[in-house]
């Protein structure tokens, strides 16, 4: 699937250091499928002990329905390597997360699942939170081809993304397909290093 330019309101979640155990708690990792995780996104913040949605949690409010962008606090996605975190976020409907920083593994997992981590400077980040506080329908535009985020006030902010991931997202390229093209190089490398590779047969 090719990544299209996003026009969307934002769902603000200002907590910093949101870990993947919050995004999707470990007890939902017993699945052997990628599906069905969206309903449990932020489960322990979203539902009470009886499983009823907590009305004050942002994902349970009408403004979160149909929104494509999560506006998150610093260092989003720290902790476990579970790819279930981006799976749960995309199944809920998110296509991009805006923050000042992301944990490495989460960022890599997101890019492989059509979820764009958008890194913005602290000042822009604070402005975006102020904008959604003033107007819950404040809209951002995220143009991956130009690497430009347009704030609700119309300011254009460039965001970093490595050129390979950008290409894969825009063209819908499967990374594994790309890797398999290099089969001959892998075989040559293995041949050269055979003596120092310790196999389980040893």
């Amino acid at each position: 699937m090719k990544f299209q330019t996003i026009h969307s309101r934002m769902v603000p979640l200002p907590a910093t250091n949101v870990d993947t155990d919050q995004i999707i708690p470990a007890r939902f990792l017993k699945t052997i499928s990628k599906e069905g995780l969206g309903a449990n996104l932020f489960c322990d913040w979203r539902y009470d002990a009886q499983g009823k949605p907590k009305p004050d949690f942002i994902l349970n409010q009408p403004r979160a329905q149909g929104a494509l962008v999560l506006l998150a606090g610093d260092n989003f996605g720290c902790g476990s390597s579970r790819e279930h975190a981006p799976w749960a976020l995309t199944q809920f409907g998110f296509r991009a997360v805006i923050s000042t920083s992301f944990a490495d593994i989460f960022r890599g997992n997101s890019l492989k699942n059509g979820l764009l981590p958008v890194i913005v400077p602290a000042g822009v980040h604070a402005d975006l939170f102020r904008a959604v506080e003033k107007d819950p329908d404040a809209t951002v535009k995220i143009d991956l081809a130009r690497q430009i985020l347009t704030t609700p006030s119309g300011r254009e902010v460039e965001f970093p993304v490595d050129s390979f991931s950008r290409h894969c997202l825009l063209e819908g390229v499967d990374e594994l397909g790309y890797m398999l093209q290099h089969e001959a190089k892998i075989a040559a490398f293995e041949g050269k290093r055979a003596a120092s590779i310790n196999t389980l047969a040893n």
Binding site: I32, G79, S101
Partner: protein, 466 residues
Amino acid sequence: MPRTIIEKLWDSHVVYEQPDAPALLFIDLHLTHEVTSAQAFQGLRDCGLKVRRPDLTLATADHSIPSTDRSLPIVDELGRKQIEQLEKNCKEFGIPYYGIHSDRQGIVHVIGPELGLTQPGMTVVCGDSHTATHGAFGALAFGIGTSQVEHVLATQCLLQTKSKTYQVQVNGSLKNGVAAKDIILALIAKIGIGGGTGCVFEYTGRAIRALSMEERMTVCNMSIEGGARAGLVAPDDTTFQYLNGRPHAPKGADWDASVARWKQLPSDEGAQYDRSVTIDADQLEPMITFGTNPGMGVPINAPVPSPSQIADPAARADLEKALRYMAIEGGKPLVGHPVDVVFIGSCTNSRISDLRTAASVLKGRKVNPKVRVLVVPGSQEVKRQAAAEGLPEIFRAAGADYREPGCSMCLAMNGDMVEPGKYSVSTSNRNFEGRQGPGARTFLASPLTAAASAITGVVTDVRTLL
């Protein structure tokens, strides 16, 4: 130009590199478990692909596996199905599998090293963020997501960009009662949980050299809690002595050649790091976390920070939220705080030396009757060694529950959990909200601190019992 060990490991594993694209990096050892692999195997099946190097891949069951009697069926249907699926996948794709009844089963980061599979100079990956554990051997070891598990299965490679290098120099020597766990908790408290993002740590200095291999594994294990995907220690005689004679370690002339090769790995004199930090081991105290991420830690007798002392509004809100969840007040030390559960285990602290340490504190004492104490060895091998040394008898006589190997209460996937609102002192690696069960409140600490707190029923400075 002089290179760090991190750069040497990178350079020796690049299969192919071109501008504007990540490098294709060869992976020497791929470890896998039931939780993050099923969707990857399904991906192979969907594309009609095989596992390229089943001889470089090893699977075990650790996360969802019960810590209770293994002769009984697994009660949790989802957990049982997940483990059965792994077994099926390993059979179908020809991967060695140390399953529920194997005498080599255990936490993936415990069995790799104890089998001698993890060796200096290797690249090691696993669909688990604590893969940095293997860095203790001078390997570049890091956690990956399920898409990357599929990539490694299909190609034995990963697309990677070079990380920055971050030297963590630990000078001096540890005082009695202060453990390897306290080094890493102190580091994370100092640099924060995002402090190492984008970096690989190299732990250096006299205090690191003085650590045993198992202690080095404890330090490297929690590199991800400082934001670094990998953390490592250059190999030395301690490394070679640990490896020599292990089932998968090289033998004979091959051993000598390997050691000669491994001796080339340490960072060159004058090699430059992108970043660095220094810790003085002489000044370290036993550490304990008070909040909801591993960076929220303090020396055990120091007061928990108070939100009123924090100027930055975001940091203050963070602390207030954590203290509210933990239902503790800032401004006072945690020592003396009541404890409901003590967990001794996890890929951080479930090796034989951890069990010996806990047993040395518990021997001849009784755990407080209000405290539920779980001791969960990291592997069948650790369990056998513990049995040979009479440790289970010590744990049981003290009133602790001694269990079967696995991840257990570290992430509470297998039914071992802390009840809502209860407090645990845990030797594991994460104190996130709900990590040990919904509503559970976790204090992370060393096995010494955990065992001491089990006896008194309150958070305790172990040095008062030594």
